[in-house]
């Protein structure tokens, strides 16, 4: 899995209400529709600024707050290819993997707004093309790579009839 795109940078403690405000969550199961409101309280019109493949860059504790899966789904359906952050809140992290949104822990201090990045998940390499630098990545546990490769947890279950982490 390799992605190319530019960086959209946010700060620390980006919570799930920022990612997709609670007031929209009951309205629809149509994630494409929800995606139009992604990050809008932090960056009005964010959805329109994303080109398919772009990255959301966070600081520490990205995705803190609610357990609602609409948060990673709204990001995924906004055509963001991956979220890179110094650390993630645990429920968001699980949900991202389970729904097939790649999440990468790395030193995002080396990435600025608008930097062009190439992220190779399998190789565990982030290349900051704008800065001509590579950023080391904390590799995902094998369990999570397996779920991501299968296209999320539901697809993993369909394939194996249960957990298969061998």
């Amino acid at each position: 899995m390799q992605f190319n795109g530019k960086a959209h940078k946010f700060g620390n403690d980006v919570n799930t209400d920022y990612i997709i405000s609670g007031k929209y969550k009951f309205k629809t199961l149509d994630m494409k529709e929800l995606a139009k409101h992604v990050m809008e309280d932090l960056d009005p019109g964010f959805y329109g600024k994303v080109t398919a493949g772009d990255f959301i860059i966070g600081g520490t504790n990205f995705g803190c707050g609610s357990s609602r899966e609409q948060a990673p789904l709204a990001i995924k359906y906004a055509d963001v290819s991956a979220v890179l952050a110094k650390s993630f809140a645990r429920i968001f992290y699980r949900n991202a993997i389970n729904t097939g949104l790649p999440v990468v822990e790395c030193d995002t201090g080396q990435i600025d707004q608008g930097d062009e990045l190439t992220v190779n998940l399998a190789a565990g390499i982030i290349e900051n093309k704008t800065k001509g630098a590579t950023i080391p990545v904390k590799p995902l546990p094998a369990v999570m790579i397996k779920i991501l490769n299968d296209g999320g947890l539901a697809a993993h279950f369909r394939e194996y009839g249960g957990f298969n982490f061998d």
Binding site: D13, Y18, G22, L29, C64, S67, A89, T99, A154, F157
Partner: protein, 420 residues
Amino acid sequence: MPMTITEKILAAHAGKEQVVPGELINARVDFVLGNDITAPVAIKEFEKIGVPDVFDRERVTLVPDHFTPNKDIKSAEQAMLVKQFSKKHNLANYFEVGRMGIEHCLLPEQGLVGPGDLVTGADSHTCTYGALGAFSTGVGSTDLAAAMALGETWLKVPESIKFEFAGVLKPWVGGKDLILYTIGDIGVDGALYQAMEFTGPAIENLSMDGRFTMCNMAIEAGGKNGIIAPDEITRTYVEGRCKRSYQFYQSDPDAKYDKVIHYDASRIEPQVAFPHLPENSRPVSEAGNVEIDQVVIGSCTNGRIEDLREAAKLLQGRKVHKNVRMVIFPGTQEIYLQALREGLIEIFVESGGAVSTPTCGPCLGGHMGILAKGERAVATTNRNFVGRMGHPESEVYLANPAVAAASAILGRIAGPGEVE
């Protein structure tokens, strides 16, 4: 090898003699839950998995509590999906409006979760049940779907932080203040991925309701679970209530912790968490002059009978400030009825407050008390993120029910001592 209470419960559910932090386990779940926001997504995922039925109709419940009584057509359609699924799979527990309560008040009250359980719920405040000495954690809808289908989940065994609260609490200080103080100290990611084990004399003397409040907010420090070792207070609560057998686990005295943090609880004042993070807590005496428009008393954090009693003590014979609207949400119908019998509802109405049927309502900016641009609320809820209760430029201040009641009376953030 010595283990913490969290490790013991996880080991028991993974069929292992012992587990160590960092280990990935596949564990049996005793109970799984979802609500009207998370369950519709889970139902879609459940159908994708393609199993005919849930793993156990007695151990899955979907509580329509967030946007109910249905706020509008869209929320009615979401709640309908929950109802249809519950009927189709003949789930033993379905709570329609009128019997419904806020999930994390309702499930312990109904005896559906108990000590020693492993519970996962598609709601971040599922960590509440740790107060019973259970391992309980929030997950997302896909995890819920998988657990509904299989009765299993994968978990990484967390490291534990032990919090020791020494001393005797000051008047008007309770579980809410202890947890806000703790989050203020360690930060909103201070326990990221970790188990928060609350111990010490102040915890041993804390009521069940106060313990639920503390464990409820473990997630606000990034914690995977909050947990309190069960004791006689727990036993009194669960006896005759729990519908399944339960087991009391204790941490070994020489169990390994990532950190042990000591607090002198006798020095902790009622706390207020300023916008826009729960970690912005400070003693109410240092709040300054903050005028408010709304007070919310209720939620899965502070919607229990003790919380209502505490608020009523201050509101009895007093009036809500003319510029303030106060809305009260008993956590369940049973709590509502108890409050009615004790005369608390009468006190609230006479003081000029509005009393609602149980719902999560304004806590997540859903309905029943949304803030306009520039408005401020004191709430006994758990999150004060930007836009959480309404307009992105509104503000939420988190506090205990006594501070909320005192603030309602004075029209500004105030400590209980100012009205007594």
